[in-house]
């Protein structure tokens, strides 16, 4: 039975999540790169959105959500085969068309997050091929494991809106492709600073707002769960922003705008898996812990691992998503005003850690294979000369700023 109130909210939430990528994430990334690559960052995000949409319709939705094995959904719902117009999605009161669209916006933003790892040096054809294969081989199966009734769902793993499915997959795959691709020319000493911090702030703000659809929409219904998810999401974002601000202020004497909004995204990624299970204080704790962990992770990836995950996808999304997934086992208990667990906290912690490790391992291994295949078929990197000239001109024949 379809509920019009639930459906109205989910139509809205779907729109909000698409807005996260177009143009939120695109602007967030475009502001962080050099002025000669601003269009290429925007282009990569919107092209991935188009490609992922068609693949989602063709087979990826079915791999994620159709009946199948514990590891892989079947192909029974390819091209939405057999899905009736007025059919409610199982366990919800919204039409399957809306569930399909809502989940599609997740399948769009997740490969788009990985753009941050390879910007400013990758071939455009490699972006398209890598993202397509990645959606089918990493995203869709993992979505099935966690949300489509697969093996992690059966074990009771908690991931409300995609700490594992979205942020761990994207973060781990990002650092893997960045490592295989190699750093940008001049990394780490001669990289140019973000060309437009104001654009980064505008993009981050759109992500923040869109995230209400992401997390509160993951209730798949209008009502109390959606309301509390929105509340904890906002508290975590604000807390993590301030956490980042304070760390920078103490460490460098000045708090930066780029730093604050990076904290925002860290807080949002961290609260994502927990958002449907925790209470307000849990949101604040997610923000505090997530902000501090992700800040430390930026230095870990760039300065200790020395990998040019250019826009810090692993540090902000991977570490944030993993931290939140593990925190969920603690913050969901009634003592923190959470909704309670169906097993002991220790058992839940075990399942959460198992989930993070398994999803991270699959993301890394599959990404290595996908990158090799992509390299063999279309090549990975542009020439050094093209990289120095910028991808806007060399890949797209356009200029970002005709001043």
């Amino acid at each position: 039975m379809i509920d019009t109130g639930d459906t109205a909210w989910m139509l809205t939430a779907t729109t909000l999540v698409l807005f996260m990528t177009l143009p939120g994430l695109a602007l967030f990334y475009a502001g962080l790169v050099h002025a000669r690559n601003v269009l290429s960052a925007l282009m990569q995000c919107i092209a991935i959105a188009c490609g992922a949409s068609i693949l989602w319709f063709a087979v990826a939705y079915s791999i994620s959500f159709a009946d199948g094995t514990a590891f892989f959904g079947g192909l029974g719902k390819s091209f939405l085969n057999g899905v009736a117009r007025d059919q409610a999605y199982s366990g919800t009161a919204i039409p399957e068309s809306v569930f399909f669209m809502f989940q599609m916006t997740f399948a769009i933003i997740t490969p788009a997050l990985i753009v941050g790892a390879y910007v400013e040096r990758i071939k455009f054809a490699a972006v398209l091929l890598f993202s397509a294969l990645w959606l089918l081989i990493v995203y869709a199966p993992v979505a099935h494991w966690v949300w489509g009734g697969g093996w992690l769902a059966e074990r009771g793993a908690l991931d409300f809106a995609g700490g594992m499915v979205v942020h761990v997959t994207a973060g781990v795959s990002a650092v893997t492709i960045a490592w295989m691709l190699g750093g940008r020319v001049g990394f780490p000493d001669e990289i140019r600073p973000p060309h437009a911090p104001w654009m980064v702030m505008v993009g981050a703000s759109m992500l923040w707002i869109g995230w209400f659809g992401f997390n509160a929409g993951s209730a798949l219904a209008s009502g109390a769960d959606a309301g509390m998810a929105m509340l904890v999401t906002h508290l975590s974002a604000a807390t993590a922003s301030l956490t980042w601000l304070v760390i920078e202020w103490v460490r460098y004497g000045r708090p930066s705008l780029v730093g604050l909004v990076t904290g925002t995204i860290a807080g949002l990624a961290t609260v994502t898996p927990a958002s449907g299970y925790i209470g307000p204080i849990g949101g604040v704790i997610c923000g505090l812990v997530g902000g501090a962990v992700c800040y430390a992770a930026v230095d870990l990836v760039k300065k200790v691992m020395k990998i040019d995950d250019s826009l810090d996808v692993l540090a902000v999304h991977g570490f944030g998503g993993a931290t939140g997934t593990i925190l969920t086992a603690v913050l969901a208990i009634p003592a923190f005003a959470g909704i309670g667990l169906k097993m002991t906290m220790v058992e839940q912690l075990g399942v959460q850690v198992l989930g993070v490790v398994a999803v991270a391992a699959w993301s890394a291994i599959a990404t290595i294979v996908i990158v090799r295949v992509t390299q063999a078929l279309v090549g990975l990197r542009v020439s050094e000369e093209d990289e120095r000239a910028g991808l806007d001109q060399t890949a797209h024949g356009e200029t970002g700023y005709n001043l």
Partner: protein, 112 residues
């Protein structure tokens, strides 16, 4: 005739313009330029990484003046542009061979 070239902090441009107007120097050419001197640029920190910004934005002013007002011009620019901090810029004075106002064909001192 001399050509006075001043490299100044962009935020001092209006003060320099007012100072020159006050001593009767009307007309200048201003360009946005980038460069560095003793200060050697500066450092910006984004997400924990330090970035060297070697070329800082400056304004370059070109003013052509008669020999009689060169000293006053240089002094006016220097006083208006000076904050006392590193990065205030420099003033160069060059000999000027000739000048012409294109519209009327007037030359040299009459063209200034």
């Amino acid at each position: 005739m001399k050509l006075v070239i001043a490299i100044i902090q962009p935020h001092r441009l209006e003060q320099v313009r007012d100072a020159l107007t006050e001593i009767g120097v009307h007309g200048m050419t201003v360009s946005d330029v980038r460069g560095y001197g003793r200060q050697k640029g500066h450092t910006e920190v984004y997400r924990g990484s330090e970035y060297e910004v070697s070329y800082l934005p400056k304004n370059r002013i070109d003013v052509a003046v008669d020999d009689s007002v060169v000293d006053a011009t240089v002094e006016a620019i220097a006083n208006a542009a000076r904050s006392g901090k590193i990065g205030d810029g420099k003033i160069f004075v060059l000999d000027l061979g000739s000048a012409m106002r294109i519209r009327t064909g007037e030359t040299d001192a009459e063209a200034l």
